[in-house]
Amino acid sequence: MTKRFSVSQLVLLVVASVLAVIWIAPIAWAVATSLKPEDETTKLPLEWFGSTVTLDAYELVLGTGGIITWAVNSTVTAVIVTFLTVLFSAMAAYGFARTQFKGQRALLGLILAGIMVPPQVLIAPLFAEMVALGLVDTWWAIILPQVAAPLIVFILYKFFQDVPPELEQAAFVDGAGRWRVFFTIVLPLSRPVLAAVSIFTFITTWNNFLWPFLVSTDPNTMTLPVGLANVVQGTFGLRYAQIMASVVLAGLPLMVVFVLFQRQIVRGVAHTGLGGQ
């Protein structure tokens, strides 16, 4: 590739810049609105900056407390879902890739078939099941169905199939047991793919709406997206600066994480999104 600054590079740069500005504008508008005094948020003609820059809206939103509770719920549930999903899926994938037992092929088939089942069509029976188990309005109702993610098993299964077995073989000869081999050799070796599926799982869980929305009626168990949708629109009325401050606060965590870990996140999302490529 030539390194000189060509006309075509300039054209691409201009096009990309224009598109980037369009893409950032809605988020910038949310931030701008959140920093205006409340009585200037719908002033016409539209202006990006109010008469002063104020953090009043943030103070009010954080002062009412709801958003902090929801952020804690979101973080805890997303961390638990990610941990359990990756641990259980890695164990299952390893079991399918490396061991032999009766009914193995049938079980693997059952799990692959599950990739075709969208959780969204299961809302009615799953809700009935949660009612029967008495789990509505608990974290477990939010967590457990999201751990049943057959796609992650499939991706890790493919990964383990491609790992040469010699290292494990050597460990067995040295007398290490199955479980020690799995936890001290296989898992550390798989760190990149585990990071990829962890990132993917965390993002989808953190952002999930429909299921947590159905199983939380108590504002104290709601996740960030559900709390925001349920309560903000109802109670804040037309206080746009506060609504936008909530929106910014709810959107901020993943954005910050993305800026910090961009390379890993890009790889994690692309790898998992493409089914393990």
């Binding site: 990309a16 299952a92 925001l228 961009q262 089914g275």
Partner: protein
């Protein structure tokens, strides 16, 4: 264990057997934890939903008696079911086309730019990291309102956006494209980076123009990725619920209500869980058909890569 030092010849077969046993041990124990959760919260509800779709069960769990195919018969004669199924298909087509093409366009653009890659990736992928509730509240409250919204204010137009049955679906699609195109953009970017550089070098020696390279190297090399992205996008779009429910509630005049929202409505506000299951399973059939293509593509990629 007294002869460990003396007799490698006699312990070798034992060690071999031990290694072989190690390979086959504990298989079911490795699979068990996932399998338990999977059966309890995916397989079981799938079967339960099928059973429910043949009953009149309500949200309280009572009235659980078999009614045969009457839920399905009712669904196929229900104009609101057809309307929501139609809306879902319209949304799927209207969103998939720009999401795939724009995703490809943005990826080609950024891939060929040599400056501040991170900034482009943050701009185009950033919105994908926002929860649906954040996106919906932002667009509903500050972008689309006809009087003080950013869109009419910037364009100098007077469009009702979400409020007009003629534009509501397009507005939902616009928000969805802004929100999720970054995902396809990233998948395409990853695929572009994996095209072997020597292909381009060989073409350059032959005097190929940039357009030639795009047409005869880049696009053909992206074929498999494109097939996968289209299938993934169809699946994602068929399952649309969040942003429509939160921005329009399905209106105006049912113009945007997708089928999952209709199932939610009859099940959770109309309390008819049996009927809701039947409506869900109509969509389920559609999704399974598209998913079969997805599984085939995943398998093919696995074979190609190994």
């Amino acid at each position: 264990m007294t002869t460990t030092v003396a007799a490698p010849a006699t312990t070798a077969p034992a060690a071999k057997a031990q290694v072989k046993r190690s390979w086959t041990q504990h298989g079911l124990l490795f699979v068990a934890p996932f399998l338990l959760v999977y059966v309890a919260f995916l397989v079981w509800p799938t079967l339960l939903g099928l059973r429910m779709s043949f009953t009149d069960v309500n949200i309280a769990g009572s009235n659980d008696r078999f009614v045969g195919f009457s839920n399905y018969a009712e669904a196929f004669g229900d104009p609101r079911m057809w309307r929501s199924l139609w809306n879902t298909l319209v949304f799927t087509v209207l969103s998939t086309v720009p999401l795939v093409l724009l995703g490809l366009g943005l990826a080609l653009l950024v891939h060929n730019l040599r400056f501040v890659q991170w900034l482009w990736r943050l701009s185009f992928f950033g919105p994908f990291l926002l929860p649906s509730a954040v996106v919906s509240i932002l667009w509903l409250q500050m972008i689309y309102p006809p009087e003080y919204g950013l869109l009419n204010g910037t364009l100098g137009t007077d469009v009702l956006w979400l409020g007009d049955p003629g534009t509501a679906m397009w507005s939902v699609v616009l928000t969805t494209v802004w929100w999720t195109v970054g995902f396809n953009f990233l998948l395409y970017l990853a695929a572009l980076q994996s095209i072997p550089q020597h292909l381009y070098e060989a073409a350059a020696i032959d005097g190929a123009s940039a357009w030639d390279k795009l047409r005869s190297i880049t696009l053909p090399m992206l074929g498999r990725t494109t097939a996968l992205i289209v299938v993934l996008q169809l699946l994602a779009s068929l399952k649309v619920f969040d942003q429509i429910y939160l921005m329009t509630g399905g209106g105006p005049e049912d113009a945007t209500r997708p089928i999952i929202e209709y199932a939610y409505d009859v099940g959770f506000t109309g309390y008819r869980i049996g009927y809701a299951s039947a409506v869900s399973y109509i969509l389920f059939v559609l999704i399974v058909i598209v998913s079969l293509a997805q599984l085939r593509l995943f398998r093919k990629r696995a074979e190609v890569s190994s």
